[in-house]
């Protein structure tokens, strides 16, 4: 059923911008008057079409089929707005859906708040909103309330989006760094580094002749398949800014364990490796938007790997390491030449190196 909805929404991508909308965002679109109304009626409501939104109320009223909930919020400010493999809209939906999934929740509802810069082409807003719908349908979530503001030209970067999300927890697992145990096995859901390189290539004008597409995707269905199989998950973390290394270090510090990983087992696509060589970057620290690590009880590791690899999104999944008791609060990488070193958190963004 979900799949069919996904198909329909892809058709939706092709539906043209309503002709009776102005071609650029103006301050009046945020003024609360006729143009604001028009923007909501012609652009947002048809795209996010659902019964909760139809009530045209100040907020959304809904029933929740669970006592345990997860609630999260995130703001999206990516530049460029549209990049190979996605745009700020798909990112804003997938990012928040993934945060809910990492809490062990089944994502249900999102909010969407837009800060638009005067002069933003309506065509771009349209594309972004359509991608949000596609992404939401794919992840099985509804966007049920929202907000729009317009700022003066020069006071924004085209468009900023904030999404908050609510999900339900339908199992008794405590998914948290504190649940990590020595002996746990660390798995990664796929190859790393694509989103960061895609963005950097598009932003810095690196002159790559071919594109690397962002891995931007919702991992909630993949995570759900692990719950459905009763895998004993101890912790999960999506690999966003700071990459795999940062996510593991954060977990090791909170849980006061040692996470040991093997460089050779970490999947990195050849073209991403090539781009990293050119730029002097370490893929372990490059951002992702559709990858996560999951730490499971050792007995469940093989089954977890099988489940992940069965899904197209997880077909590059690997077991990359194990958890040990000491040295506490460290992540130790076994390098390709067989030596070991500790991974450290980055200070700020990675900058391309000269040699």
């Amino acid at each position: 059923m979900n799949e069919n909805e996904g198909m329909l929404s892809i058709d939706g991508l092709n539906c043209p911008l309503p002709i009776n909308l102005s071609s650029f965002i103006t301050l009046a679109h945020g003024g609360g008057g006729k143009l604001t109304h028009q923007l909501i009626e012609k652009l947002f409501r048809p795209a996010f079409n659902n019964s909760e939104l139809e009530t045209q109320h100040d907020g959304a009223v809904f029933d929740i089929p669970s006592e345990r909930l997860a609630f999260t919020t995130d703001s999206y400010v990516v530049r460029p707005l549209i990049f190979p493999g996605g745009n700020i809209g798909s990112l804003a939906v997938n990012g928040t859906v993934n945060d809910l999934a990492m809490c062990g929740a089944r994502p249900l509802y999102l909010t969407a708040a837009f800060i638009l810069e005067e002069g933003l082409p309506m065509e771009i807003l349209w594309t972004i909103v359509q991608s949000m719908k596609t992404a939401a349908d794919h992840a099985g979530v509804k966007i049920i309330t929202g907000d729009t503001k317009v700022v003066d030209k020069g006071k924004g970067d085209g468009i900023f989006i904030n999404t908050s999300g609510v999900g339900v927890i339908e199992h008794s697992l405590k998914i948290h760094p504190k649940s990590i145990q020595p002996g746990d096995v660390v798995l990664i859901s796929g190859d790393i580094g694509r989103h960061g390189i895609a963005i950097m290539a598009a932003r810095e004008g690196l002159g790559f002749q071919n594109q690397i597409e962002s891995d931007c995707a919702a991992v909630s269905n993949l995570v759900q398949s692990l719950f459905d199989a009763d895998i004993e998950i101890h912790c999960m973390r999506d690999l966003t800014r700071g990459g795999l290394a940062t996510a593991l270090i954060e977990m090791a510090q909170t849980s006061r364990v040692s996470i040991n990983i093997t460089e050779l087992e970490i999947p990195v696509r050849e073209d991403v490796k090539g781009a990293c060589e050119i730029l002097g970057l370490d893929p372990l620290y490059v951002a992702n938007e559709g990858r996560f690590v999951v730490l499971v009880k050792a007995e469940d590791a093989a089954r977890t790997l099988e489940l992940l690899q069965k899904d197209e999104l997880g077909n590059q999944a690997r077991i990359i390491g194990t958890v040990k008791e000491v040295p506490q609060e460290t992540v130790i990488l076994k390098t390709k030449v067989g030596t070991s070193r500790m991974l450290d958190m980055l200070s700020g963004e990675q900058l391309p190196r000269i040699c």
């Binding site: 810095e204 060589e277 002097g280 030449v337 030596t339 500790m342 450290d344 200070s347 000269i354 040699c355």
Partner: protein, 363 residues
């Protein structure tokens, strides 16, 4: 990637490590002279594969680290001018000047662009005729052909709105300075493979002879470095002092002649300040008279009194191989990559930052 992956291999690294162990009968202190090698040694914890007798020192081979503070201050001053687009390699942005770094200029609204090649700066100049474009032309001999070509092209195409803030340095005079120091501990050098790809290695022969010291031209991958160390140790153990070429897949004895020709055309040998070390005679490249109008220091005159922020920092001693990063009191305490006191903590090719970021589990 072919010709990269096979040089990062544990089985072969072990074989070299064994060979080094078997050849070593006493303590030896070696220095690698290239920031790329320092980076690899730290990233792959290569020291852990070596016997205790072999000690590696990390030379002044990071172009970002040795760029003098006065020039960083000039860069900061120029980049903050309205109507200037300041172009730089990425890792120069965080290098601390007397008061601020280039990244701070950017956050205050300066138009700062990270470029991958100096030719990108030329294109930016052509695309923005109403702006003054300045490129921070730093580097060793490896980068000199690219910088020289950009300057040569600027003159050829008569591009008027570009200039270059030049801090080109050359390796051999720095090696002599290290060896001349009464505190010198270095007994063998790994010379920089890409520097020698451009310049060849003839100029290292008199150094090796004068100081009776082995010099092995070495690549950057783990296996290259291990082989370079092996060759160097073998020479030391056998009492030889020669120039050897480990990186023969890229380096010819005479180097790259067409690159040398353009370097000659655009640059002349000048004295140059090295951050942490001081002035070294004939250790830099400066623009020839015919290219003087592309000199950013002429175009933007500025009086700046530069001063290092910290007296605690011993990066000069580290760059000369007299001290190791972890022998510095400030290392990892008041000096971290977030708040670097000296340039060697800034770039990951700098010895301090490499030590900080890539901590071996054994040490």
């Amino acid at each position: 990637m072919k010709y990269v992956d096979e040089y990062r291999n544990s089985r072969e690294a072990d074989l070299f490590a064994n060979a080094i162990r078997q050849s070593t009968t006493q303590s030896w202190t070696l220095m690698e002279i290239c920031g790329g090698q320092t980076h690899s040694i730290a990233k792959y914890s290569l020291q852990d594969l070596l016997p205790k007798e072999i000690s590696l020192l990390h030379g002044p081979g990071c172009p970002v680290c040795v760029t003098p503070i006065s020039l960083i201050d000039k860069a900061v001053h120029i980049a903050a001018q309205p109507d200037v687009i300041f172009c730089s390699f990425g890792d120069m942005l965080r290098v601390p000047g007397s008061r601020e770094d280039l990244l701070t200029v950017k956050s205050k609204g300066g138009d700062l662009r990270i470029v991958y090649s100096p030719m990108d700066a030329l294109k930016i100049a052509q695309d923005n005729p109403q702006k003054e474009v300045v490129f921070f032309a730093i580097g060793f001999e490896t980068t000199a052909p690219a910088n020289a070509m950009a300057i040569y092209k600027a003159k050829l195409d008569d591009i008027k709105n570009i200039s270059f803030l030049v801090s080109q340095v050359i390796v051999p005079p720095a090696i002599r300075t290290i060896l001349d120091s009464p505190e010198n501990r270095v007994q063998g050098f790994l010379a920089a493979g890409h520097v020698c790809t451009v310049m060849g290695y003839r100029e290292y022969e008199p150094i090796s002879k004068d100081y009776r010291i082995p010099i092995v031209v070495t690549g950057f991958e783990p296996l290259d470095i291990l082989q370079g160390i092996y060759l160097c140790v073998k020479q030391l153990e056998e009492g030889r002092a020669e120039v050897e070429n480990q990186y023969s897949r890229s380096v010819l004895k005479e180097g790259n002649l067409s690159a040398q020709k353009i370097i000659q055309e655009v640059f002349q040998i000048v004295p140059r300040q090295w951050r942490g070390i001081g002035e070294i005679a004939q250790s830099g490249l400066g623009l020839r008279e015919a290219y003087a109008r592309f000199d950013a220091e002429n175009k933007f005159s500025c009086e700046i009194h530069s001063q290092e922020r910290s007296s605690e920092c011993i990066s000069g001693l580290i760059l000369q191989g007299i001290k190791k990063p972890n022998e510095c009191q400030a290392f990892g305490k008041s000096c971290t990559p977030e708040f670097p006191l000296g340039a060697t903590m800034v770039s990951t090719e700098g010895a301090c930052a490499a030590y900080y970021r890539y901590q071996s589990v054994q040490s």
